[in-house]
Amino acid sequence: MMNKSSPSVKNQSFIIEGASCASCVSKIEKVLHNLQGVDAVEMNFAQRTVSIDGNVNQASIIRSIQEIGYNAKPMDSESEQDALDEKAHADEAHYRDLMRNMYIALLVGVPLMLYGLFIGDMSVDTMNQRAVWFVVGLITLAVMVKTGNHFYRGAWQSFKNHSANMDTLIALGTGTAWIYSMVVIVAPAILPEMARHVYFEASAMILGLINLGLAFEVKARGRTSEAIQRLIGLQSKTARIVKDDKEIDVSISEVQLKDVIRVRPGEKVPVDGEICEGKTTVDESMLTGEPMPVSKASGDKIVAGSINKTGSVLFKATHVGKDTTLSHIINMVKRAQNSKPSIGRLADVISGYFVPIVMILAVLSGLAWLNIGPQPSIAYAIMAVTTVLIIACPCALGLATPMSIMVGIGKAAESGILIRNGEALQTASRITTMLLDKTGTITKGTPTVTDVILFNEHKEDDIMPLIASLESGSEHPLAEAILSYAADKQYKTSQVSDFDAITGRGVRGELNGERLLFGNQALMNQFDIDVSRGAEQAQTMANEAKTPMYFARGDMLSAIVAVSDPIKSDSVDAIERLKKKGVHLVMLTGDNETTAKAVAKRVGIDNFIAQVMPQDKVNEVIKHQQNGEVVGMTGDGINDAPALAQADVGFAIGTGTDVAIESADITLMRGSLHGLVDALAISQATIRNIKQNLLGAFIYNVGGIPIAAGLLYPIFGILLNPVIAGAAMAASSLTVVSNANRLRFFKAQKS
């Protein structure tokens, strides 16, 4: 499937084995520097890895390193899998830490809160109360240090760097509550009697709830990258190389181009290659979204990550390491998952300034309570300041877009839809007009002979070998259909003399001293051949979306051969789904008006434009864009490239080549138009999900602040408790991550 022939790649990394001393570093760096094409080399002795920048063959790097006595292993699928495992372990350890911190903080916070609610108040009046609360204060401090030290260290580091973040808000909020409470205990005289109230439970509870929220977030985040993990999991770790009649299992990183590899039924295909022996069926569903296994035989391409179902085959490696289709897909999905559409930019700008703004709002609300609030105003002010600081963490705002993009693009990849970036995903959700190329998109793109009508009592066995002989010199796509038909029927072809391809008309030549003509009516007219006998039948064929061609032997019309590019079995259904989505459809084709009309009618498209050249397709896109429409263009190849580039979103269908993967906005790995409808559905669902997330984050962050500051107090007498604010903050990121995860269960509706 990949067209890339050069194994040279840029930015490669290798694990070095056998490098035991620091002097090895300069030795390895030196030998690599001397390789042609290497721009930069950097070895990390601690990690035993080397990074090479430049255009250089992987095999020469490994060989050069081996020549000086070390071994080099590309950091590929295995190391990627190791990194994933490492991440999973780190996440698990972090989750346990957070949960332990949560238990410790709530173990102190919950009893204190229950005491305040049901048994006694939290005020400090007597010496005994001061002593008891002082001890509680110290215990709370210990809990804060134990369960929140990360936040306090982070806040201090950020402060020193002139930046403010979530840690800053948590540290300020919990610290304010604790310091105020200790002031109440140590120097109650400086505060009015009504304000002598401690808030230790708030500090402990907030830390407990935030640790709990983060723990859940760690878990939920792990699931958002499931799609990429599944793709990486498709990569095989070993390959069975056949050499000198022996089969040896080797690590995938050791497979070289042109190695002959055996893959047995039930095994994963380890690298991209071309079958040289055997027949099988291959399940490519994880790469293409196509559920049906595909038959493969000698000469067919197979791709890494697909599963060999039935037969044992030998194949020659054509792309290895980072050059395989699967590696390209993984890289592209990773890149795309981390890009952001414009819908998230405002949230980015806001969250970039958010924390200092919240700090200013906290100060202002504190001043407002002190100046115009009821007594004890200082207690209310402390409550408001703490609550504003705690509720306003902008994490949810920052996460709203990337989480949905990560899941949405991963979900699309699982269905064989490769989305280049977040912007393409957003634009795809707004498409109003879709231009569809006919050949290869709506139809199969492989014309086949459908009818052979013979005149003058000729037999097909006499005529078709002559036509095939004539067409074997032609490069026209329709010639392929004739030759394939002849090959199926095992007709023998002969050498034609005086061959000539007449542009736009057909071909002529001589065989056994007899003139042969094969082409359209214009060709027949040119040579004064009377086609009136077959004119009616030819028209009927054209009306049935077939292309009729005349064959004349000598001066007589001898046959009409009709060729048709069959409509894909599911095109009608998919087009119906597109229409239900309210997308205006236009079919573009280079075919004649009659054939185009017949195809459009069959598939249910009202608008079509026939006899268009590639440049006309671009103009058609521009025309619709000028009418204010958001235009999508779907095509299957190079000739559609200009129009695909001009469209707001270009959909490359069915090819899966690296050119398509790298250049189209969206690549549909399977040939079906259902992939196009699914792509639109996933993009709409993802953008909807982002909007939900942004709304949720907005409610938490922006809506929560005025309530925390006490806006509802004058009307309803409500002042938010800092503990509630802590719970809300913990819930905000969790809500966003969980909502994004809902996309994992998205299923496009099939008709």
Binding site: N11, S13, D39, A40, E42, N44, A46, Q47, T49, S51, D53, A83, E86, K87, A90, D91, H94, D97, H150, R153, G154, A155, W156, Q157, S158, F159, N161, H162, S163, A164, N165, M166, D167, T168, L214, E217, V218, R221, K334, R335, N338, S339, D348, G352, Y353, V355, P356, M359, I360, V363, L364, L367, L370, N371, P394, C395, G398, L399, P402, N421
Partner: protein
Amino acid sequence: MLYVNVLGIALIAAIVWWFWLYKPQQVASNNNQVNIVVNNGVYQPSNIKVNAGEKVNLRFDRQDAAPCAEMVIFPQLDISQELTMGTNNQLALPALEQGEYDFHCQMQMYKGKLIAK
């Protein structure tokens, strides 16, 4: 109360100056190779001067397991990379034109800037 209000206003002014107006010190890179520690809510160094027109190699040493720290994004360059725990996070940037290039985590809690001159 007047003193408290004045103190409050002064505090607001201090926040504005400290977080927005103050220009943090820049750290010059060594041959455009920079090691950046990711820990405690910050990138260290976070304000890095690099040579414009030359490729930049960054190595992130992630010491913080918090999910915030797991991704670094260069929005102007459309580049992002997942950071695994430890030092094995190499990121090669193309030669930069003169200008300032922000980098941050997904939540924008960690923030840094490359200044290409």
